[in-house]
Amino acid sequence: MSGPNRLNGGLIDRRTSVIFSFDGKTYQGHAGDTLASALLANDVRLMGRSFKYHRPRGVLTAGSEEPNALVELRSGARQEPNTRATVTELFHGLEARSQNRGFSLKYDFMAINDRFSNFLTAGFYYKTFMWPRAFWEKLYEPIIRKAAGLGSVSFEDDPDVYDKGFLHCDLLVIGSGPAGLMAALTAGRAGARVILAEEDFITGGRLNAETHTVDDMSGSAWAQAVMAELTSLENVRIMTRTTVIGAFDHGIYSAVERVSDHLAIPENGKPRQILWRIYSKRAVLAAGATERPIAFENNDRPGVMMAGAVRAYANRWAVTPHQQVAVFTNNDDGHRTAADLIAKGVDVTGVIDVRPDAPKVAGAELFAGAQVVNSTGRLGLKSVQIRLANGELRDLPCGALAVSGGWNPNVHLTCHQRGKPVWNETLAAFVPGGELPVGLSAAGAANGGLTTAAALKAGAGAAVQALSDLGIQAQMPDLPEAEDTPISLTPFWYVKEGKGRAWIDQQNDVTVKDIKLAHQENFRSVEHLKRYTTLGMATDQGKTSNMGGLAVMAELTGKSIPETGTTIFRPPYTPVSLGALAGRSVGKEFHPTRETPSHKWAAEQGAEFVEVGNWLRAQWFPKAGETHWRQSVDREVLQTRKSVGICDVTTLGKIDVQGKDAAAFLNKIYANAFAKLPVGKVRYGLMLREDGIAYDDGTAARLAEDHFVVTTTTANAVLVYRNMEFARQCLWPDLDVQLISTTEAWAQYAVAGPNARKLLQKIVDPEFDISNDAFPFMACGEITVCGGLRARLFRISFSGELAYEIAVPTRYGDALIRKLMEAGEEFDVVPYGTEALGVMRIEKGHAAGNELNGTTSAFNLGMGRMVSKKKDCIGNILSERPGMNEAGDLNIIGLRPVDPKDPIPAGAHLMNADGEISAKTDQGYVTSAAYSPVLGCSIGLAFLKGGADRMGEILRVSNPLEGTEIRAEVVSAHFVDPEGERLRA
């Protein structure tokens, strides 16, 4: 026997022993055990300490609704806090520890909180620590955090992987008890695509926990027979260890499958869990019901359990929590626990039934019309005190008390989209009602059908109805014989007698008194009650406690429970690990990485890379002996301006625009005119938002009368394409224009510097003349290079130098960069990265993302005259708005420090040379700054009020945040080659 409390029978595999440890002590259980059942079998009732008061607590339930038995599992990086012992499958070598305790579970010095409980009542956060304010963060919160809490995390990376997945079905069946099995069977036989999701590791639901027969078989045997048929059907997918956690719009459900939680370590490469997104046409909720307790003084001692759970432990796991058990009930179901325990030879010391007319019990003493008013046993229940119907007090010895206050249908998923459950007088419980998620119906206990026969029938019926909605004919199967005795119940929520605390929410330590206090302080609506007392806000989301709390409040306000209402159930149904939500999108794989065509080559050169959106771009190329990035960047700039440099510019968005009306279309997209751009020419283009603000710029190259290639900034490639499609489809649907992105298809390099042409002439095939006359500034054309490879050549310049951009099919991008570098050797060609690119564009005064920052107009950018007034284009009407173009508005200017040693701080604000420094006297701000190796000092681009007319003025460049201030002169933004002679050379 594995433990003193093991009974006979059950669904455990007694031939397989499983060794595990709890708080360092080794125990033995069996395959099929949960941690909770194995601990109970070993006579361990004390499993944890409560959240706030550190009260000793034991297991309350046998399922995922468990509030108390939360433990830490495993160790090292796999340490996992707050797992429920009731759903933790036992595996060999399982390490479990109790949590929220001091040195040991039995002697917890923090239990002192229990003595000061009067200070820790509802609302104590709000009241106690209000003053002095500064103490909250530094003093109170750390103390509370240390005292109140759950388990601890490892602070190491989770070594396991988590998957996401997508499933499609006609019918999703949630739960595999009698209703779920019948629904799946009915739909499966009809040929529908069925997914049967079961939270537990075996199917059958309550059939495994009861002794009822179904068609002369034990319930569990019947369930296995049905499973055999379901398994044989290809159209049915059975998913155990899978909890449906949320019902979302239009038949989408999410579910967590715990693939490897029952193993010490996942199999190699296999995920720990999978988060499934299930697309269902119809769904049946057959999630059963949850039993609710009755509150009484000291009802939280280890050993006080739900009656249905005690029955489940006895029948499924062959375990009794103690050799002496008493029952406290307000309904007939509690009597079943007594009967099943007696049948297994357990001493039932009494059945306390609040109903004066309670039915007789065979084999145990009945206390009809009696109530449990208190209990004893600090670390484990020893006895209960009963107020008999005649008013006498009686002590009843018992190590476990099985409590039943009735059953609440698991309506949660029916409420995930505003559905409000309705009150059922007979069950004294909420059942699904109002608007259920479209396509979802509830069946069986989840719908208030609490007998096995009712569940079987409802499951089959729900499937027939759901499939008929889909046009699939399903036959109502022959229903097996099963028990059909309704549970007679007298609503009874809490015992009024007693001065001590009676626990409603055991996980958050909320008592009847707390609810009375909330009522007294006028936090009476259910939503206020919840937040004031924290009732139902723990990880169990109040599955066993919400109803009790509502009932107490209803009584205090003199309203009925349905009038009092219920809080809204939201996903997830049970706690979900963050790993499952993240899936594979962690670390480096958080987003996909885009590599440029020269990436491999650049990596070989030892380039430093920088993330630009998803792209990895070379930032600079350090050379031996360079110890600071500025050395590399300065060299790259100087060498490019002196001879020639090469930069991978593939990341710029490229959109292919074709069609009879391609030019007319671009005329509408760009603020400046495009209709008359000749074939073989490129033009700079500025795009405005419809509100007149500049948002992107680039070039458009006209390759043919009806063919353009448009470039966008790297950052806006997706947005510009989306906006162009919007203009094409929604604004001018009859324009003959077709768009497609070709960003990745071409490897594109900028070749810049006085020797750019000489270098290119070495690789461009000789039949193509790229001399200045034949191929002047802003020319473009289709050429071939290196002996016939198709290429595109654009004479455009971002650096301000004589420059080209050359594009070849991407697969040749690696070879081309090597070829260019080889051909450029005689010119001491240098590759340059994004930093040098940035320095050179600032030196040239080209606007980029820092300047096109979502607040600036064409006027601000010095491009006001480019905006065509003759044509209709996006943004031109509102670009004329007051405040966008007035004299004195911001103009782009250049800044040079008065003392060449001063760096210009990017983001700093411009202030007049004298006077106060304040927002009121603000003159503008610095957008871009860099050290210019050409000028030998820091330079900046800035927006300055009326800047165009303030050349030569000395300003203060102020950064009050860091307390710095320098003086700088207002100069033209074009620091290098303002006349543009170099780029036309």
Partner: protein
């Protein structure tokens, strides 16, 4: 003769093959692609000329037509991707443009994409972990655009397996996603 050597989307000289129990992932580099979009009111002309050039009908929504040399995949309203062997069709776009003239807009797409073919008994189970397409219900020839590993990809059911055609610059990320899923399942 070209003096330049091409590399694969994964950055190697030769395409990559990964074997798992129940799944093979093969990098495909020998296909040329071109997009073809009918100009306004030229859909019928485009179809006629395409039939003459390719010997196949341009397919309807969400499906493909596979011919001896050319295949056509529906990618959008009156828009298709034409697939042909790379050898002999390096300039596929020029060939198609010449044949279709003003009837359609034609754009070279060959090197915009990478392609991995997934074959084997586990292919459906692997794709279930990768994308929301109802893979089990896809018929041979069906093509859909879907997100795999955050990347917009074409998923094409052909030759008994599935081709995943994704953005070339993210080939390594896509390949990583595919192999991780394969490892999860196989």
């Amino acid at each position: 003769m070209l003096k330049l050597k091409s590399i694969t989307p994964l950055g190697a000289d030769e395409p990559r093959v990964d074997h798992f129990s129940g799944l093979t992932i093969t990098e495909i580099t020998g296909r040329a692609l071109v997009s073809l979009t009918a100009r306004n009111e030229q859909a019928d002309v485009t179809r006629d000329k395409a039939w003459t050039l390719f010997g196949i009908d341009l397919p309807d929504v969400s499906v493909s037509v596979v011919g001896n040399t050319y295949s056509a995949l529906w990618i959008g309203p009156e828009s298709w991707m034409i697939d042909a062997p790379y050898d002999g069709h390096e300039d596929l776009a020029d060939q198609v443009k010449t044949a279709l003239g003003d009837a359609a807009s034609v754009v070279e797409q060959t090197d915009g994409w990478c392609r991995f073919d997934l074959d084997g008994s586990a292919v459906t189970a692997v794709l279930e972990r990768l994308c929301n397409a109802d893979v089990a219900r896809m018929q041979s020839g069906d093509v859909t655009r879907t997100q795999i590993h955050h990347l917009g990809c074409f998923l094409w059911h052909c030759d008994g397996g599935f081709a995943v055609i994704g953005p070339r610059s993210s080939a390594k990320s896509l390949h990583h996603g595919l192999t991780e899923a394969a490892q999860s399942v196989c």
